[in-house]
C-alpha cells in the first residue's frame, strides 16, 4: 500500500505530515499502485481516478 499524498510506501517512514496535509488536500496517488490519479476538485468535494483501480470520491 502507498501513501495517497506522497506516493511512497505507506508502511515505511513517517506519513504523519501527509495525513495532516490530507485534511486540506485530495489524494494524488493511488494507494494500491501509486499511479498518479486524475483528480477533479469541485466546491463540495473531489473525484480521484486511477486508470487501473477506479474512482474514489468525497
Amino acid at each position: 500500500m502507498f501513501c495517497d499524498r506522497c506516493g511512497e510506501n505507506a508502511a515505511a517512514g513517517d506519513h504523519a505530515a501527509c495525513a495532516a496535509a490530507r485534511e486540506l488536500e485530495p489524494p494524488r496517488f493511488c494507494p494500491q499502485c501509486r499511479r498518479r490519479m486524475k483528480v477533479q476538485v469541485v466546491p463540495t468535494g473531489w473525484r480521484a481516478s486511477c486508470v487501473e483501480h477506479g474512482t474514489r470520491t468525497a
Binding site: P26, Q40, G45
Partner: protein, 331 residues
C-alpha cells in the same frame, strides 16, 4: 494611537482616500501590541465604505494542470514535478458545481482554467458552460482564463461573464522571481483590456512568495493604482514539487497586518479571503480577518486543494452578524 493610524483614520476612514505606498509600509510595520487597534480601524473603514455585507463566491477548475507557464507557487504548471495531472471538467459537472455554490447563498461563481491564455477549445467550452449555467442557476458567472486578446475579452462580455479575474500575484519588482515565462506587464495589459470592456476587474495575488515587507507595500500600492472591483488575497500554501514547495507559511499576525494594510490602501474594494487562509490563519484568524478589513470569502474548496466547509464560514458570518450579499445587490 500610533501616528500612522491617526493619519489613516483622518485620510481613509474620514475621507475614503487610500494610503500611499510609504504609509502602507508603515502599517505593515505596526507592532504586535497595536495590531488590535489596526484591525479595528480597517474594520471601521470597511464598514463605512463597503457596508456590513459579505460577498460569497465559489470557484471551480474547468481545466486543471498541464499549464505551460512556470508560476513558482503553482502545482498546475506542467514544468514542475507536481503530482497534479491534467484533467477537464465536463459541462454537466460544471453546472452541478454552480448549483452547489448557489445553494450556499453565494452570488459569484468563478470558472478557472490553468492556461497561459484560452485557445478555441477552451473558449468553446466556456461558451457552452456559461450558457448552461445561466439557464439552470441564478448566479453571477466570473472567469479566470489567463491572458486574453481583445477578441477574447469581447467574446467573454458577449457570453455574459460579468467579472474577470487575473491576478498580478505580486509586485512588479518581485514578479521576475516568481514567473519567468511571461511578464507582469503582460498581465497588466490584460487587466486594462478587461477594465475597458466594462467587465468588473478582479485582481489580487499571493502573499508569502518570498517578497519583502517593502514589496508587499509596493504590491498594495500597485493594486490601488489599478483600482480593481475585487482583490482576492491568497496566502501561499506551499505545494509539493513546486519551486516554492519549502517556503515558510506567512505568520498569522503578518497576514492580519497585510489584510488591514490592503484595506487601508483600497477602502472601497471587495477584499476577498482566498486560498491559504486555513493554514495561515486557522479558524480564529479567519474571524480576525473578517473583523479587520475582509468583506468577501471563497467558500468550499479551491482549485486543487480543499477549504473549510461552506457551512462553517456561513455560521461564522451569522455569528458576526455580517449578512451575505444578496444577488439582487450585485446586479
Amino acid at each position: 494611537m500610533p501616528d500612522i493610524l491617526e493619519r489613516a483614520r483622518a485620510q481613509v476612514l474620514a475621507n475614503g482616500v487610500g494610503l500611499g505606498e510609504a504609509e502602507i509600509l508603515e502599517v505593515l510595520r505596526t507592532p504586535d501590541e497595536d495590531l488590535p487597534e489596526l484591525l479595528q480601524l480597517a474594520h471601521d473603514v470597511r464598514m463605512k465604505w463597503c457596508g456590513p455585507e459579505v460577498e460569497v463566491e465559489g470557484i471551480v477548475s474547468l481545466k486543471t494542470g498541464g499549464c505551460p507557464e512556470d508560476c513558482h507557487f503553482c502545482s498546475q504548471s506542467g514544468l514542475f514535478t507536481s503530482p497534479v495531472r491534467a484533467v477537464w471538467l465536463d459541462i454537466p459537472s460544471l453546472v452541478e458545481a454552480a448549483k452547489q455554490t448557489a445553494a450556499t447563498g453565494a452570488t459569484e461563481f468563478c470558472i478557472v482554467a490553468a492556461v497561459r491564455g484560452p485557445d478555441k477549445r477552451l473558449m468553446d467550452q466556456m461558451r457552452e458552460g456559461v450558457k448552461a449555467i445561466r439557464a439552470a442557476v441564478d448566479i453571477q458567472v466570473a472567469a479566470s482564463l489567463g491572458m486574453l486578446t481583445q477578441e477574447q475579452v469581447d467574446e467573454l462580455v458577449e457570453m455574459g461573464v460579468h467579472r474577470y479575474n487575473h491576478n498580478l500575484e505580486t509586485c512588479r519588482s518581485f514578479f521576475p522571481n516568481v514567473v519567468t515565462t511571461h511578464s507582469w506587464e503582460e498581465r497588466w495589459g490584460t487587466l486594462k483590456m478587461v477594465r475597458d470592456s466594462g467587465m468588473e476587474v478582479c485582481c489580487g495575488g499571493i502573499l508569502g512568495l518570498g517578497e519583502t515587507i517593502e514589496q508587499r507595500a509596493e504590491f498594495a500600492a500597485q493594486l490601488a493604482e489599478l483600482d480593481p472591483h475585487e482583490v482576492p488575497m491568497n496566502f501561499l500554501n506551499p505545494r509539493p514539487g513546486t519551486p516554492l514547495g519549502d517556503q515558510p507559511v506567512v505568520e498569522g499576525k503578518d497576514a492580519l497586518r497585510a489584510i488591514a494594510a490592503f484595506r487601508l490602501a483600497m477602502p472601497r474594494t471587495i477584499l476577498r479571503y482566498a486560498g491559504g487562509r486555513e493554514i495561515t490563519l486557522g479558524d480564529l484568524g479567519t474571524r480576525d480577518g473578517l473583523l479587520g478589513g475582509i468583506n468577501a470569502v471563497i467558500v468550499g474548496n479551491y482549485l486543487t486543494t480543499l477549504g473549510r466547509p461552506a457551512t462553517e464560514d456561513l455560521a461564522l458570518l451569522e455569528d458576526l452578524k455580517m449578512p451575505v450579499k444578496a444577488l439582487s445587490a450585485t446586479l
